[in-house]
Subunit: 202 residues, 2 copies
C-alpha cells in the first residue's frame, strides 16, 4: 500500500488552553507526528539551535522569502518576523509525517484556504474559571496581562465554531488522545482512501 500523505493539523486556542502541553504529549506518543518549526529574525536565546527550536534568518533573507511567497503565514511582532516555512511543511507532509501548526485564529482559516487542505482544531479550556486559574497559576503574567489574555480568549472562543473540531482540554492525557484520534480518523476519511477503492474496481 502506498504511504498516505501526512495530515496537516492547524491548531488554535486561547493562551492558557494548553495547546503546547497537549501537542507535546501527543508528539511524545506518536513518532509520526511533528510540530512545524517556525522561522524568525530574532536572535537565538540560551541553547536554542537553528533548525530545532526555530529557523534563524536575518531580516533581509526573511523579507526575500516573503516576496518569494515562501511562508504559509507570517507576522511581525515587536520588530521581529515570525513565519511558517511552506517548503518545510509540505516536505514533511509528502513524506507521510503528520504536521501540527500552532496558529492564531486569524491565520488558521487563511492557511486552510491557501493550501486547500488541513484539519482545523480548536483547543478550548473546560470553563472560563479554569482558564483564569491556569493563567494565574503560571505566575508569568501581571494582573493586567491576565485581564488582557482573558479578554482575548473570549474573542478567540467566538471563532471556535469555524473549526472542524473542538478539543476541550480538561486533562492533558484526554486532550492528547483526542488529538491523536482525530489524526487517525482523518486518515480514514473517504477522500483519503478513494485510490485503494478504485484499484479494487479496476
Amino acid at each position: 500500500m502506498k504511504k498516505q500523505r501526512g495530515q496537516l493539523i492547524i491548531l488554535s486556542g486561547p493562551s492558557g488552553a494548553g495547546k503546547g502541553t497537549v501537542c507535546q504529549a501527543a508528539t511524545a506518543h506518536n513518532p509520526n507526528l511533528k510540530i512545524s518549526i517556525s522561522a524568525t529574525t530574532r536572535a537565538p536565546r540560551g541553547a536554542e539551535r537553528d533548525g530545532v527550536e526555530y529557523f534563524f534568518l536575518d531580516k533581509a533573507d526573511f523579507e526575500k522569502k516573503i516576496e518569494e511567497n515562501a511562508f504559509l503565514e507570517y507576522a511581525k511582532v515587536h520588530d521581529h518576523y515570525y513565519g511558517t516555512p511552506k517548503a518545510h511543511v509540505l516536505q514533511m507532509l509528502d513524506e507521510g509525517t503528520d504536521v501540527i501548526l500552532e496558529i492564531d485564529v486569524q491565520g488558521a482559516a487563511q492557511i486552510k484556504e491557501k493550501l486547500g487542505f488541513g484539519v482545523l482544531i480548536f483547543i478550548a479550556p473546560p470553563s472560563i474559571e479554569v482558564l483564569k486559574k491556569r493563567l494565574v497559576n503560571r505566575k508569568t503574567d501581571s494582573d493586567a496581562q491576565i485581564q488582557l489574555r482573558m479578554k482575548n480568549a473570549l474573542t478567540e472562543l467566538k471563532q471556535a465554531e469555524h473549526y472542524d473540531y473542538v478539543i476541550v482540554n480538561d486533562t492533558v492525557d484526554q486532550a492528547a488522545a483526542d488529538l491523536e484520534a482525530i489524526i487517525r480518523a482523518e486518515r480514514c476519511r473517504t477522500q483519503n482512501n478513494l485510490e485503494i477503492i478504485e484499484e479494487m474496481l479496476m
Copy 2:
C-alpha cells in the same frame, strides 16, 4: 459537563471484509460502544435469547410496528422480517452510548437521511485477492456462492465513495483502532461541542 449524546455509527461493507470481527474487537475494548440488536420474526436458534442476539417478534407484531414506523429500516429475507428498532437505538444514544448499526449499502444512506445524523463508515478489504481468500478460507460457501459474493462486493465497493470514512481492514486490531478513533474524533466535531463554547461566552 453534560454527557454528550452517543454517536450513531452506520457500518457497511462487503461480505468477507470483516465487519463482524472488527465490531467485536472494538466493542470488547470499549464498554460505551454497543452493537444495535435487530428485531426478527424468525424463531430463536440454539441458545439465542430474546433481547440479546435478537428481539424475537411474531409476524403480526412486526407488521404492526412497520405501520407505526417503529423501524429505522427493515427487510424481508426468506419469508422472515428483520428490522432495526428505532426506540431501542435512540434510547441508547440518549444515554450517551455509541451505537453501531450494521446495514447494507442500500439502507445506510437512508437511515442517515431519515434521522438527520449518523456517521457512515465503509469497511473495505485491503484488496480483491484478500477478500476472495477470506471467503474461501471460511469454508462456509460453495464456489457459486463465493462467485456471487465477489460480484456483490464490487457493486458495494462502488458505493464506498458516499460514506464519510473508509476503514481498510488489513488487520483486525488496526481496523478496530480506526473505528474507535473515528468515534472519539466525531465526539470532538465542532457541532457536538458548541454548547460548551456558548456557555463560556455567556
